[in-house]
Symmetry: C2
């Protein structure tokens, strides 16, 4: 079944291999997750690292043949398609958990923090982008100055909103000044990042017709889903609230809508994650949201999402970062990312009258890139905007900023807040 011969694998052999890949991915993610938890890191960090470990950078370096046998080229369409479905279901759940009500409070300072945390890294990223354009092997050959600037700018200002939200909920900070501010800023940031990404991706279309389809179609999709879609879904929500149960029929309908929304947004060129997220935001809250989480969360997060990290890791080639010069570039990118995002968010929070510790904590949390960064990087790589070397440098930046977040948060805020009794134990 694991034939190493040159003959192409049959449909059946690929499906047999898929079981082994899934078993291997689950094993590595859980093993790394177990170690990460001992070090106080959240699961997302460990899965980012697990992905890199399974790719050519580590597994492929230690045992090239084993890596090629377990993850042959022919199996990539299966892994990719399954990982995209997992990602779409995950983004739908993130949308379901999105707190629309938080916009009402703290809207001004949150907007400032969010804007500062978008504009400064965007400018720094743009500068670095136009600088790196001259380096060979960084951007695709036909990428223009403007495109390089836009793409690197956008990919610098990403925030790991789902991770930020999870840290805040898990530690019982939802009601505090820090929690409200960070969640609202993260939410705005997240929504804005998707818009920027849509514009940037649209600008890479072969023509402005394609760009207009992406931007106009995306706006229309969001409008329809958040008005007509939302009112239709709220009727479903009322039914669930009354009966206390979501029928298989209705559950199937919701899944169908998630897949359809993912397809539409993929098709018009602004990516499935956006379509699924918007649909999640449009879902009614209350009983139905609770049931959806109960039925979907474990399978999505534990079973399907690791596939995305794996696919991303398979594309990460740390061996292409093979000179002091390139490591220097990685350091510059990392520094710009931290100063631009963390620094700017801290400064904006301070200006809006938050105390030193709270401002530092906001900067720390907003600085984590997490899964969102990997999404934009994979899109860039797949579209030919960036090449494997720059992709790998950006993955390093994403992993390091995500890795930093938990210990930094603990250091600048956690231990003091815990001493005062306003913070739960670290996430486990």
């Amino acid at each position: 079944m694991l034939s190493g011969s040159a003959s192409p694998l049959s449909t059946f052999q690929l499906s047999v291999l898929f079981f082994l890949q899934l078993a291997f991915i689950l094993m590595v993610c859980r093993a790394v997750g177990w170690m990460a938890r001992r070090l106080g890191q959240p699961q997302v960090v460990s899965e980012m690292i697990a992905g890199v470990l399974m790719g050519p950078s580590v597994f492929g370096l230690l045992w090239p043949e084993g890596q090629k046998t377990l993850f042959p080229e022919a199996s990539k369409p299966i892994l990719f398609a399954a990982s995209q479905v997992g990602l779409s279901l995950y983004m739908f759940l993130v949308g379901v958990e999105f707190r629309r009500d938080l916009f009402a409070n703290k809207i001004r300072s949150a907007t400032s923090v969010s804007l500062a945390g978008m504009i400064v890294p965007f400018l720094l990223g743009g500068l670095i982008g136009s600088w790196l354009l001259k380096h060979p092997g960084m951007f695709g050959e036909r990428v223009s100055q403007l495109e390089a600037t836009l793409y690197l700018g956008a990919s610098m200002c990403i925030t790991a909103f789902p991770m930020l939200a999870r840290i805040i909920y898990e530690r019982g900070l939802s009601g505090t000044s820090l929690g409200t501010l960070a969640l609202a800023a993260g939410a705005i940031d997240d929504a804005a990042a998707w818009c920027v990404l849509a514009v940037v991706l649209a600008s890479f279309g072969d023509s402005w017709t394609i760009a207009a389809l992406a931007i106009g179609g995306g706006a229309l999709y969001a409008l329809v889903v958040l008005t007509a879609g939302r009112s239709f879904l709220s009727k479903l929500g009322d039914k669930v609230e009354a009966s206390g149960d979501l029928t298989s029929q209705s559950f199937g309908l919701i899944l169908m809508l998630v897949m359809l929304g993912s397809w539409i947004t993929d098709f018009i060129g602004i990516y499935a994650v956006f379509g699924a997220f918007v649909l999640g935001v449009a879902m009614p809250r209350g009983k139905i949201a609770e049931i959806l989480r109960g039925r979907m969360e474990s399978m999505t997060v534990v079973f399907l999402l690791p596939l995305f990290f794996t696919f991303s890791g398979l594309n990460t080639r740390l061996d292409t970062v093979d000179s002091w010069g390139l490591w220097g570039i990685a350091l510059v990118v990392l520094a710009a990312a931290c100063i631009g995002k963390g620094g700017a968010c801290y400064a904006a929070a301070r200006i809006h009258g938050e105390d030193q510790r709270t401002s530092l904590a906001v900067g720390t949390l907003m600085n984590a890139r997490g899964l969102m960064e990997l999404i934009i990087l994979n899109i860039g790589l797949q579209k030919g905007i960036i090449q494997p070397t720059l992709f790998s440098i950006m993955v390093i930046m994403a992993v390091v900023t995500t890795l930093m977040a938990s210990p930094m948060f603990e250091w600048v805020y956690g231990r003091h807040a815990r001493a005062k009794g306003i913070l739960g134990p670290p996430a486990t």
Copy 2:
């Protein structure tokens, strides 16, 4: 994205298409399911039919280009791999629900019913198999007399155990004489069918080494999982019972084991469904089983399992059953299936002293082929044992016997039992 050109689809295009396929599949399954429910048929019947509708027999006949664009050859590995994972997760859950305790009661009459329901259809199927071997386009070219007899015998004696179990639980018959007898007989039948299937498949191996690997390996796998595996898992069950929760870490471990078990049994040649089912049987009952069902059932049954019915339907070509002769063969197969299975089970129950209605009900329920039949048929087709025409004839038999079960049950048992107050309302 839905390019109809001859150029091969890229990994990205295939993943975009997969979203559309999933949306379409969910839509068709739910629409047919909605209609089937109005007619008092369970969801499994509607999904069998939905699969056939989406295949070349209906969708492909009405709009050949649309069918080819939505389900191109290149997308089959993705659909197949995902459907196999869904099937494996489903069989694991069926294993988790398997009532080991039922073997204790009613063991004698259940064994008789089960044996009668295996031996008679096996003999009839074998006869038909050796008769059809002379017809062109039925069996693969290199299939011997013995192999044709064995395969058709085995595929005649399948019972839709999960469906049978669902009907009995849903109608509150678990405690009755009928419920206990049918469940126990179905369970024995199910276990025996997998063993027969393993032997039959093994006999198609290129050599007896392969057959020995399948039979010996399968037996060893079952032994290890049901002893060492079961004792390891029961510790996990105790932990869950004490804490009341299954951690993501443990849940990931269980999923990893399901994938690994599926891979092992696929690899040795007795199919993933067997490995996953045995692992499910080995799981402890109680809290952990309840949590697993809560987390996995909806996503597996509503989201992933329809992929299997679709893949099966894509292979069903009713247009190959294109002459009175072939429809005659289909009728003979159907009659042999009903007389062999339903008739023999009824007779065995009568001999063991059950009353007329109960015996008829047992025969009716045991006669439904359901999903299990599609599994053995797809394996046969994929291994080249049977050809599309015989595959389609057998699918007709599977659909018709499954379709018959609910109304027949209602007619011979349901209405009378309901009048006496010992039966709940029909499944909805």
